[in-house]
């Protein structure tokens, strides 16, 4: 197989050398990402641009359904069959490094201090022991979606600027039937959707606390600030009655159906909301704390060079990495996929930062934090259960928070033990 490949490569090299009479040897590198229509289209555009700039290098893109992605990567790279450049969720970075699937980016091409300076701060989660292992093309953050029609109906002119305004605005948007059942919520809630991010990196910090220590291996939200944040969050339903957790099954469903005044969600929701006909919506930055503190959550998919890439493939892979993390690539990604640029130089251009839809998300990036998860779904479940205990079992806030902190610490301990 290897010899056959070698032979094929040699033939290719020879024939293209004849055709293009280029001196450089042809290299083909492989790029893998999970399948999502717009992402594939954007990457095809980027590959075309890259190949035009770098004659002699071809990039072969392969994509898989999201469900199979992790397994395929894990099986292919050690077998020497997989990608040279791979896309992965930022939360998987530790696992990928531990499994020796990706290699650090060389400091001469991707100087850590330049990356620190050029990118939005949350990409620092990709730095280990002073070197970067992966870099994103695009990032995601949270913002407040609001239903313009319901705002007009209730005579609200501005989206809420702070957390107190949020309650007042939500009260005006809530509707109930004769029996007192909610038929329209002021704001959607549900820890199962994006609220767990809003709670961790948004509310807790806005109430003066921190969700974790700097290394994200110790839970630190079992504090007064944490309790205040949980109190605020659960009060929306229990005290103010402006929401119902699980209303219309899923928060985004309630918002899409026009039965929710406000909805906190990620930038990836923009596409599907644009597709809803007759829904008039706007976007605002997440409400600040009463003292003006702003905080947001950001997540992203990153690209990394795998341990499979060696020699000239490694060189080509680095060139490709530079290309897909360039300003031009980020603009293409924003235009095609709708995901936010990872660098202020692109994100904060006049046009992008003032875009009515992307703008609030991009502004949110400058004060966004990225949770380093050991196990995102289990850590989310802890918060889901925390709210369920106060909701269904009427457990006091402090007690539920303490149980959650202990449970989450256990997950982190197990993960960082090895």
């Amino acid at each position: 197989m290897k010899t056959f490949k070698g032979l094929a490569a040699a033939t290719l090299t020879a024939s293209s050398a004849l055709l293009a009479s280029s001196a450089a040897a042809d290299v083909e590198i492989e790029y893998w990402q999970y399948f999502y229509d717009a992402r594939v289209t954007a990457m095809e555009q980027l590959i075309d641009g890259f190949e035009a700039e770098n004659p002699g290098i071809t990039v072969k893109m392969t994509h898989f359904p999201y469900a199979d992605y992790r397994t395929k990567v894990a099986a292919a790279i050690p077998a020497g069959e997989g990608p040279d450049v791979v896309q992965l969720f930022y939360g998987w970075l530790n696992d990928y490094i531990a499994a020796d699937l990706i290699q650090p980016l060389p400091v001469d091409t991707f100087s850590p201090s330049d990356v620190d300076k050029d990118f939005f701060p949350m990409v620092q989660a990709m730095k280990k022991d002073g070197v970067y292992y992966a870099l994103p093309t695009a990032v995601r953050s949270l913002a407040l979606f609001y239903n313009q029609r319901l705002f007009d109906e209730a005579g609200i002119t501005e989206p809420p600027a702070n957390l107190n305004d949020l309650i007042e605005v939500a009260k005006k948007l809530t509707k109930r039937d004769g029996a007192g059942n909610i038929t329209q919520v002021g704001i959607t809630t549900g820890m199962t959707a994006q609220d767990h991010h809003w709670f961790r990196e948004g509310l807790i910090r806005q109430f003066g606390g921190t969700p974790y220590n700097d290394g994200y291996d110790t839970v630190s939200y079992n504090s007064e600030a944490g309790a205040a944040a949980l109190q605020y969050y659960t009060d929306l339903e229990k005290l103010h009655g402006v929401t119902a957790s699980g209303f219309m099954d899923e928060p985004q469903a309630a918002f899409k159906a026009g039965r929710a005044g406000m909805h906190i969600d990620g930038s990836f929701r923009i596409g599907s909301l644009k597709a809803i006909r007759g829904l008039k919506w706007g976007v605002a930055e997440l409400p600040a704390a009463v003292d003006g503190t702003q905080s947001n959550y950001s997540s992203y998919w990153v690209n990394a060079v795998t341990t499979k890439a060696e020699g000239e493939k490694y060189e080509a892979s680095l060139k490709f990495m530079s290309y897909i993390t360039s300003d031009a690539a980020m603009q293409i990604w924003l235009d095609v996929v709708g995901e936010l640029p990872a660098k202020p130089s692109v994100g904060l251009t006049e046009a992008n930062a003032n875009d009515p839809v992307f703008g609030p998300f991009i502004k949110g990036l400058s004060y966004a934090h990225t949770t380093v998860f050991a196990n995102e779904s289990s850590q989310r479940q802890v918060l889901v259960d925390m709210v369920a205990r106060t909701d269904i079992e009427d457990q006091p806030i402090a007690e539920s928070l303490a149980i959650a902190a202990e449970a989450e610490q256990k997950i982190l301990n197990e993960y960082y033990a090895d």
């Binding site: 469900a67 992790r70 397994t71 990567v73 894990a74 696992d95 990928y96 531990a98 499994a99 020796d100 699937l101 039937d177 029996a179 059942n181 909610i182 038929t183 549900g190 199962t192 959707a193 119902a244 957790s245 699980g246 209303f247 219309m248 099954d249 899923e250 039965r259 196990n375 779904s377 289990s378 479940q381 889901v384 259960d385 369920a388 205990r389 909701d391 269904i392 079992e393 090895d418």
Partner: protein, 297 residues
Amino acid sequence: MNLYRNLTIKQKQIVWAWTFLAVPVVFYSVIRFYPTATAILISFQDWNLLGARTWAGFDNYIKLWNDPVFWKVFRNTFAYLLIGTPVSLVLSFVIAYHLDKVRFLHGFMRMMYFLPFMTSAVAMAWVWRWFYQAVPIGLFNNILASFGIAQIEFLNSTTNALPAVLAPAVWAGLGFQVIIFMAGIRAIPTSYYEAARIDGVGWWVVLTQITLPLLRPTIVFIVVFSSIGFLRIFDHVFNMTTNNPGGPLNATKPLVLMIYDTAFNSFNMGYAAAQTVVLFTILMIVSLIQLRLLRSN
């Protein structure tokens, strides 16, 4: 060739028997035994799908024993079994018993009962999920609200969620059991009933002295079949609670869902394999007990 010729007829029969058995034996080894053995092996290892597998000894089992979620899930799984099996058995018998006596549109009625069994569990679960929602979209709660009755939390409750998820699962399996029962009822020779009628005994005696005793093999079959089904319940639970798989505070989480979650959300393959081995053992014990009961008849 000489070797073969020297064999006795008995030995030759054995050779041929194994030759013909080779295909299913290979098939079974590759499809059933190899994965089972691998699962048992992985249950003693740590593996996150990415790196190498490392030996963990009994760590996964010790962790399982000390995991409160596992015991909650264990209780749920048996709750599905102990509520689901008798309820579906009694319901399907009552339906089959009466359906057997219906002459008008008999085939159509039978089809109506069988239809849910043929429907995709996923589609069914999502429709029921919608039925259970709160006002303004939930069918049941909308009906209650229109009579001015307070809403019921079906799925967002630690007490109601499990029965609420179980109900459609029972309903979906009913059609199959009804058909089996009807076949069993029809297999009872009519001469017994004629003799009973000549003796002038009532329907209750006929039911308890003739029908039920003669239906024992059918009943045992349905009990075995449905208990395995309830022990392995997954699709209904998963699809009705995708937002929060396993219901609020794990109220509806069965063992299979826990395995799925551990394996494909937490990527903790060793721990998931240990759970699988436990499930496998439970299924085997339950089946062996039930087969033993069957044999004594």
